[in-house]
Symmetry: C2
Subunit: 354 residues, 2 copies
């Protein structure tokens, strides 16, 4: 029983993660594919998330999303807040934190900032879909929306389609478009950027890859703007007219059964009886494992919709932790030095007044 | 938009909590009562916990238990591992960690070691029950089991019944009993301790308060050992013969509806048709609010069984955080210095090779 009862874990801030090279979409996309394969092989525990809503009107909430990667021996959890009114105060809508534990003894191994991972997951899942579904020679990418998700999606798409040369962006206001271009042209100096002056058709009409990354609940994207052969990654809620999906040759989801019960465009179409199970070509894991084909012609239009799968978040967080730990980033924190009653000072610490 | 996007939170290790006086059962019991009242008043969100089991045979698992205290403006989560085989390796069965977030903007305020809080919660809930249900003049407390839970229960019971003078302990082996006495007599030097030489009847027969805190799945506690007027706090799973509960005048639970579906003694009795809803006097919150009476005679035997309510854990964790923060204990950690694409170094941090 002389075994030490000290338990330590690693804390990684967003800056620790960024500095140690975790904003790496090749790493994230590999983690996505590996997690999708593991899930398909029954090697993932993926319980229903817990949603706590504090305000029905504003939908302010904190979600708790655990998952276990059995082959990696890691159980993790994303703790993510979604507070839409924050944006009006100049604060971010979403904040997140991950906890990772090993499952040999059950002890925590990491607590990590989670917005980076969570936002990268959205981009990496879209890019994984694009890897199998977007035109090989995609040259032009168009955005409706210019926030963090749009920026992440651009980096992710450029990773799987390095031939992308032109990025067109449409946002609610011209200054938002300009800010996007200013920031992203510093990161991608060889890419040509075009602002659309808030005109969605200008951003989308010529695009090989279309991305809508907006919280606007309105059919901003029109079917007529999606050219034959294009790939569309839908990130938000309801932002495209029903005709977009109706016109597509293939519809792929990360998890169609979950999509059905949400409030995204495809969910609305399903609930309105305008879309059925038969209209869905595949879930993304079936494409990744090769059970169903990806793109099979240069002319087909393909629609991809993701709702988010927490085990994918945990898989990316784990890779980030491994990379950061390998570079000795972050802080090692002591959870406990020993068990409670083993502390020599315990009798002085107990608060008694009798 | 010049508003800072830095987010910080407090990290508190077990030693930070202990050093700042959080092993305080008056504080914990007040938090229990306040949380039970808030729950009864509908001011608590308390979703179903998520259980992930990694080994059906050993029941190794990690549970995720979130809850929100609406009046306190705090949403919290207990992340707790239960790995029974750890004990054979000289390691602790249980480890835990809490995350607390404010619900004005949704940002995290604390990450804390959680075994201390979780173990104190068990004791504090038992002691809250004892406050209303144990004899006022209780002098003798008896234990079957001598682990951390037994130690916590002794401190908690002494808080609500300072007249306790004698503590008798029975464990699986004499060295375990001796270790308990050695540790606890240092904390409670005026209490008289007696070891029972593994004979449960010696520890229990004269006790005003009986506590079973053991993982043994066997009917160790006999009805004949519980004298009239005594109060019994059942902590473990199945450790008392059915006749104990049958003989009691009142049975109180923390949450009878939950107890029904577990594997504790009362659950087994219910499932065997030997106990019905009518046999349950009250849930503890009904006693605390005065909706149902506590002890009404000096002769009645009262049985208390708790399964654990995560909102109570969160309430105690919150009080610990407040006390520790008030003493500037722990470390302030930066979750993020700014939003991802606001970092001036971002273009150097993105991992691109094209």
């Amino acid at each position: 029983m002389a075994r030490s009862h000290e338990i330590t874990f690693k804390y990684l801030s967003q800056e620790d993660l960024l500095r140690s090279g975790c904003l790496d979409f090749r790493m994230a996309i590999e983690a996505v594919e590996s997690a999708l394969r593991a899930h398909r092989a029954g090697k993932v525990l993926f319980p229903e998330k817990i949603v706590q809503i504090f305000n029905e009107e504003t939908q302010e909430r904190i979600n708790c999303l655990p998952a276990t990667l059995l082959e990696e021996g890691v159980c993790g959890m994303k703790w993510v807040s979604v507070f839409p009114p924050n944006v009006r105060e100049g604060l971010q809508n979403l904040s997140a934190l991950f906890v990772l534990s090993e499952i040999e003894h059950g002890f925590p191994i990491a607590v990590m900032e989670g917005t980076l991972c969570s936002n990268m997951r959205v981009g990496a899942v879209g890019a994984t879909a694009a890897k199998y579904l977007a035109p090989e020679d995609a040259r032009v990418i168009g955005f409706i929306g210019s926030g963090e998700q749009a920026k992440m999606h651009l980096l992710a798409m450029k990773t799987v389609r390095p031939g992308l040369e032109v990025c067109k962006v449409s946002a609610a206001t011209p200054p938002e478009e300009e800010a996007f271009v200013e920031e992203m042209s510093r990161i991608l100096p060889r890419m040509t950027f075009e602002t659309a002056g808030t005109d969605g058709s200008k951003a989308m009409s010529d695009a090989d890859i279309l991305v809508t990354a907006t919280s606007a609940q309105a059919p901003l994207l029109k079917a007529a703007w999606m050219k034959p052969g294009a790939f569309y990654s839908h990130i938000g809620g309801w932002e495209d007219e029903f005709a977009v999906a109706e016109q597509c040759d293939k519809i792929v989801c990360d998890d169609w059964e979950t999509v059905k019960h949400r409030t995204q465009t495809l969910s609305r179409m399903y609930q309105a009886g305008e879309l059925s199970d038969d209209d869905i070509h595949a879930n993304l894991d079936e494409i990744v494992t090769g059970e169903k084909p990806g793109r099979t012609s240069a002319e087909e239009r393909i629609y991809f919709n993701a709702v988010g799968l927490a085990f994918v978040d945990v898989a990316i967080a784990l890779e980030m932790y491994r990379r950061a730990a390998g570079k000795h980033a972050g802080q090692t924190l002591t959870l406990q030095k020993c068990m409670i009653f083993e502390h020599p000072e315990i009798r002085h610490w107990v608060q008694f007044d009798f």
